[in-house]
């Protein structure tokens, strides 16, 4: 064989079509999303956790009491994404926002599209915009994104 150096490279894709069972608590949250609403769960001392967890994050006690929250909420923190990557939920500039729904004590991570970061601020009032009911399956993407309450972003 000739003494030649050959170097190869190739695109590979690794993919597993996993489906997981979600349990009663996450299941209630996803059922809520499918039905166009957001629910949390009461933790020890009445703190409302959104998204709901199966155990209180501070005491480890089991949680069982599902409660409705929102639909509006307040942005508690955000991060601007000027150039979305292919796997981001939006392909136009957006902010990752932490939203504390009215009635909740913890924040929920989602996206808020905006033309400019000056349109996003901590403390701004937002609400989720759901995708069409027929398309909702019980997934966090059932919320298309958040929008500012009472104003164009």
């Amino acid at each position: 064989m000739a003494d030649e150096e050959v170097h190869y490279s190739a695109d590979h894709v690794l993919e597993y079509p996993y489906v997981r069972s979600v349990g009663p608590v996450i299941g209630a949250f996803l059922t809520g999303l499918r039905d166009g609403k957001v629910v949390g769960i009461k933790g020890t001392g009445g703190k409302v956790i959104v998204p709901p967890t199966e155990y209180d994050p501070e005491t480890g006690e089991e949680t069982t009491d599902i409660v409705d929250v929102g639909p509006e909420g307040t942005v508690t923190s955000w991060s601007w994404v000027p150039k979305p990557l292919r796997k981001h939920p939006l392909q136009t500039p957006f902010a990752w926002v932490l939203v504390k729904f009215d009635g909740a004590d913890t924040s929920f991570l989602h996206v808020l599209p905006a033309a400019d970061p000056s349109a996003v601020s901590t403390g701004m009032r937002v609400r989720p915009e759901f995708i069409a009911e027929a398309d909702r399956v019980g997934h966090v993407n059932d919320i298309r994104h958040f929008v500012a309450v009472g104003g164009a972003v």
Binding site: M1, D11, H12, L14, I26, V137
Partner: protein
Amino acid sequence: MSEPVTMMAAPMHLDFLFTPGVAQSKFLHGLEQGKFIGQRCPKCHKVYVPSRGSCPTDGVPCDEQVELGNRGTVTTYCVVNVPFAGQSIEIPYICGQILLDGANLSFMGLIQEIPTADIRMGLRVEAVWVDEADWGPTLASVKYFRPTGEPDAEFDTYKEYL
């Protein structure tokens, strides 16, 4: 009101660029030319095919290239009877570990032209290549392995490679 949500699709998807490196590229280039190319360890003289460029026992670079023949021995095998997503071969089929003559490392290959009931350790096989026009830097250049009709290899000749 529909049923509560109990399941969630959570597909995992990784895109990556695979770069085989110098040693494995030689193996792949060999496949492109219809040959099995391995490398010999300068210390223990074992021949690795495919080679990763160094000897896992001695930790030294393997710089001698070795061209192996088309024949080998089935060291062990699995008859696949279970259908799965993305399956491209009709079941049942045989997936075997093939130890090429002169090699000290086996690799996985499809075995055809033998009833699944007749597959056995020690079976002598040969590579059947795809048409030359379709040879590429991939093991898909080898269509499958088939029995040569030679007597089975003695267990002692491949017992180290199970």
